[in-house]
């Protein structure tokens, strides 16, 4: 009897699993269908001249452009070289911005006097439209890598800083008190209680801030440089090459999605203690 009941239960679970898999397949198919419909109608509208291909480009031409850039090269040189340059600027700005954001967030979150003194200045600095700083950085630091890194840095820093600061402020007082009772000194409280507590906030900010790093690098290149994806866009714009602009945009989107994937992987690695998504899937 018991084994019968067991078999019935197993069957139920198996059926539920199949249902979940079917649903996933359906979602995938619909996603692809969506892309086909969007790109297809763009292509058709452009070919029938319903929309002007000069202004709106054409998916097949964009694909061709990327193919030519990848095989023959871009006006600025090999494509991978442009990607590498932009990535290098973005990653440097991202790394330094994240590091500084965490350190300042923790410091101001933990040291009240520091927060009281510096708080207004940080708010003021944050209210400057930061992309404008790109021009200043190029005047200060020239057309090379440092000015792009600086712009990516300021964009990333504030996002991470405010998240880290908020994360520190949200830490449960009693959790800290518990650690102190258990013998943790101030440094141990900061590194072993406050930082892990704030980590969910900090990592959440990485998702948005990598996008900002990329924006910083590309805008910097756009304003003044001699290579990189941003310069490629500027060049395409200058020659009224709509497909070129779209092609560079597409490459940037792929990079951003790849980074998003890596950050999610990092998040899952660092925050293993969180209830996993699997727990939430209803069978």
């Amino acid at each position: 009897m018991a084994s019968l009941a067991h078999a019935a239960l197993d069957e139920g679970v198996a059926a539920a699993r199949i249902k979940v898999r079917r649903h996933k397949q359906l979602v995938m198919v619909l996603r692809i269908a969506f892309a086909v419909v969007m790109l297809g109608s763009w292509e058709i509208l452009s070919r029938t001249k319903t929309i002007d291909p000069f202004f709106f480009g054409r998916p097949s031409e964009i694909g061709h452009k990327i193919w030519v850039w990848a095989t023959v090269g871009t006006p600025d040189g090999p494509l991978w070289e442009q990607v590498r340059i932009t990535m290098e600027e973005a990653l440097l700005g991202f790394g330094i911005g994240v590091g500084a954001g965490i350190v300042f967030g923790l410091a101001l979150g933990r040291i009240r006097l520091l927060a009281e003194v510096l708080g207004p200045y940080i708010k003021a600095a944050n209210s400057i439209p930061r992309v404008v700083l790109g021009s200043i950085f190029i005047i200060w630091l020239g057309l090379g890598l440092p000015s792009k890194v600086a712009l990516a840095f300021v964009l990333v820093f504030f996002v991470v800083f405010f998240n880290a600061f908020q994360g520190v402020r949200e830490v449960n007082e009693d959790v800290i008190a518990n650690a102190r009772i258990l013998g943790a000194n101030r440094r141990q409280v900061t590194t072993q209680v406050v930082l892990p507590s704030a980590l969910t906030w900090i990592i959440a900010s990485l998702h948005t801030s990598f996008g900002f790093a990329l924006v910083g690098a590309v805008v910097g290149e756009f304003i003044g440089s001699i290579h990189g994806l941003g310069h490629l866009i500027a060049f395409a714009q200058g020659t009224f090459d709509t497909n070129g602009v779209f092609a560079a945009m597409f490459i940037l989107a792929v990079i951003a999605l790849g980074a998003e994937f890596l950050i999610t992987a990092l998040e899952n690695r660092l925050i293993t203690w969180r209830p996993s998504r699997r727990d939430e899937v209803a069978l």
């Binding site: 959790v175 518990n178 980590l199």
Partner: protein
């Protein structure tokens, strides 16, 4: 290994040694956001002897948690004296365990990491800390759950983890703030029995805060009844029930019922007062 000495446990009130904990006319005032001063605790005097188990009962908001924060050194008294082992409290006590009212387990630490945390903070090497943690995890009945995270544990298991976390540092003073109030009745009775057993193999002096008079009588050597806020001592009762006790059975003891009636007589007015106030405040 410790052996249980529960039956001939010596609690020797006034046996010459200085009390483990002494509060003399202690008060605690808070500044409210509107700038007023709110008195949470007022002229509070109590001493706890070494190895004694004292419960504090009182209506919600009467200052029980505040009292524990003064003893622990987490917060300074606004007036009066607080001494632990004869020394005025100026910082967080080194030989002190504190089981908090809320859930304060680190969500990112496994049971093993949580229980060994106190030793690790105090500089004990990882291997040794983990070995000792393993023993304590076994003592609270959580063997096999070493790698579980708090979100994977039931309420009772979380409290057991918290208890092991506090006891592993062999505290001389153990403060417990309504540790079992969030548990269901069955789990709670089990945990109360386990607490008595664990305590009997230590020499810790315990201050146990609760709003449940039954729990207070069943566990304690003395029960301190507090007035509705601002809290002060309304009465202190000796609980002359023999040990070892079994919490699930002792409730039917005639002496228990007598004590309950006496103390409740005193506590009831405070509870009603507190209730009336809460009602009139909306």
């Amino acid at each position: 290994m410790e052996t249980a000495i529960s039956s001939e446990r010596v609690t020797a009130p006034g046996s010459g040694a200085t009390p483990a904990i002494e509060l003399v006319g202690a008060a605690k005032r808070f500044r409210t956001p509107s700038g007023d001063v709110y008195t949470a605790l007022h002229d509070f005097s109590l001493s706890v002897h070494r190895g004694e188990f004292v419960s504090i009962v009182g209506p919600t908001g009467c200052g029980k948690s505040t009292t524990l924060s003064l003893i622990s050194g987490l917060a300074p008294a606004s007036a009066g004296e607080v001494r632990v082992m004869g020394e005025p409290v100026t910082a967080i006590g080194k030989q002190l365990g504190y089981v908090f009212q809320g859930d304060v387990l680190f969500p990112w630490k496994s049971v093993m990491g949580t229980v060994s945390a106190g030793l690790r903070f105090r500089g004990v090497a990882k291997r040794e800390a983990q070995e000792r943690a393993r023993e304590w995890i076994a003592k609270v009945g959580l063997s096999g759950f070493e790698d579980h995270y708090p979100h994977q544990l039931s309420g009772g298991m979380r409290k057991r983890t918290a208890l092991a976390q506090s006891l592993i540092t062999s505290p001389e003073i153990l403060l417990m703030d309504e540790p079992f109030s969030a548990l269901d009745v069955q789990t709670r009775t089990l945990m109360e029995d386990e607490l008595l057993e664990l305590w009997s193999s230590t020499s810790a002096s315990v201050v146990f805060v609760t709003h449940d008079l039954e729990e207070a009588i069943a566990l304690s050597d003395r029960v301190c009844v507090m007035t509705a806020g601002p809290g002060t001592v309304k009465g202190i009762y000796d609980i002359d029930l023999p040990r070892p006790r079994h919490v699930s059975e002792i409730r039917f003891d005639t002496r228990f019922v007598e004590l309950y009636r006496d103390i409740w007589e005193n506590l009831r007015d405070e509870v009603l007062l507190s209730y009336e106030r809460a009602k009139s405040n909306g």
